[in-house]
Symmetry: C2
Subunit: 307 residues, 2 copies
């Protein structure tokens, strides 16, 4: 018998469309979220609202959590009226948030002590992927549990990969964010250089997208950088949160991240300037700030610092 009763906690920009895809796939869905509007919207489509994470757990065989950060996962799982209080035989928690792998390990251990199993299953693919059910889902945890949960994941994602033991889904997601950060730096440095050198950005992106310089970032965010469209696909403050997890995890395993650390520092300046709500492509503003004093108001008129 496969899983039929699924719970969903956290109906934000990502969570709501993911939950809708579970409904469409025919799962009996019980939901909980801090905001009222998405709950009402899901209930109108056939979901049942629950008054707490505990109540979601009591009603479900598998509970998905899709919340903002490590602290939020600890709260909904281990807090008052949390999932752990609704523990019952066979319950699986699939945390699809991006959080620190060490928190994942700690939460999984706390759940295991109550007989509840946990998978970490963070996603990539953004809001579009969530809506279209084309997310990549990187899963850590027991292999049999993974197999049992696969139909649930398949309703939300196109590529679902079992990465290994508990925490390895989160580690894979952090590895993803290393690439996202470095590729974005390349795009912003490239296009700022091109603009200052007088090149046509559109022609340049077109010619570079065919070869060894190509990346998802260049194709999808390069044109936004070129036309100074900083509306968020993925917000700086969220990437910055993830890069914080990347840096602390890297410290634990003693992995050098010189370029990623540099990009984290550049994003940090933008956050300090209150630009954390912009899309990650606004990194170009930090690169520009290294290039010339802004707004003609002076500042260093010299080239980039050298190693």
């Amino acid at each position: 018998m496969g899983i039929t009763r699924v719970g969903f906690i956290g109906l934000g920009i990502m969570g709501k469309p993911m939950a809708l895809n579970l409904l469409e796939a025919g799962f009996a869905l019980t939901v909980y979220s801090r905001s009222r509007a998405p709950v009402d919207s899901l209930v109108a489509r056939g979901a049942t609202a629950a008054p707490s994470p505990r109540a979601v757990a009591e009603a479900s065989e598998l509970v998905v959590t899709m919340v903002t950060d490590s602290q939020a996962v600890e709260d909904v799982v281990l807090g008052t009226r949390g999932i752990a209080e609704g523990a019952h035989a066979g319950l699986i928690v699939a945390d699809m948030s991006t959080i620190s792998p060490s928190t994942t390990t700690r939460v999984a251990a706390a759940l295991a002590a109550r007989g509840v199993s946990m998978l970490d299953a963070p996603v990539s693919g953004g809001e579009t992927g969530a809506r279209e059910g084309t997310l990549t889902i990187m899963v850590g945890g027991d292999a049999r549990l993974f197999e049992a949960s696969l139909p649930v994941f398949k309703a939300m994602g196109r590529k679902v990969v079992h990465m290994g033991a508990t925490g390895s889904g989160q580690l894979a997601k952090l590895a993803n964010q290393i690439l996202v950060a470095c590729n974005m730096a390349g795009v912003c440095e490239c296009l700022n250089f091109a603009a200052r050198a007088g090149l046509d950005a559109e022609k340049l992106i077109d010619s570079l997208s065919a070869g060894a310089a190509s990346s998802w970032s260049l194709t999808n965010l390069g044109p936004k950088v070129a036309r100074r469209d900083f509306a968020p696909g993925f917000k700086i403050k969220l990437l910055q949160k993830d890069l914080g997890y990347v840096l602390s995890s890297a410290e634990e395993v003693d992995a050098g991240l010189p370029a990623t650390s540099l990009v984290h520092g550049l994003y940090g300046r933008l956050v300090e300037e209150g630009l954390g709500e912009l899309g990650t492509q606004a990194l170009v503003q930090a690169v520009e700030a290294l290039s010339r004093g802004r707004d003609g108001q002076g500042g260093p008129r010299r080239a980039a610092p050298r190693e």
Copy 2:
């Protein structure tokens, strides 16, 4: 009447297969190279050997130069028995080497003084692209000259883009190398982190290649990094030469390149260690060196430096 008599100077790893594609496309080809072997090989396929760049110029309507660096271009164009000495009405020089844009501008001006036109037309796509005629060719110079030369370029490349005035082909190629450097840093930091965290590299590359972290570097060089295959597709010493041009050009236009400068510094350490002949994916060795003392022989056992 289109161009039929083409000259080719510099039959190295890139130049030789490019010249062969010109022969196959039916151009009457006159060649010169410092090494004897590729000249003999081209002659056996129907090319004519010339004793000097000057003699190549005298026999040709358009001369391609494909040599190692700025100095080599100055030598074959402006040196003794160089192309400039073989100047004649209507001669076009198409320099397909990657060199500094300021050298391009200087050489173009010197040629113009003798009535010779020049296009800068550096390529991306590597040895494979050269062999298969699928190079991307980024061209700077007069638009009519570009149109007249297009059939020659089309015999060597798939995507041929007119970027703008003299020097803009080189600037576009340098923009390409900024992306190549930053994307490679991302791949190496990602896979070193993954290895230390105990993730399966093959599964990771597979799952990340589908989404927002994807790049040509991840797909094509990531697997080589994972299996520690450092055989060169593109050699560190050549990318390092190009990054030198990038940094000096960026200084001229006052463009900040924090990540690219960092990567240039990391590659510099590998060159100092005598590893310049390795492929660019060996950047992972510099990242590893920041992670732990090598070979268990001590060294800093701390995490990466932070911004």
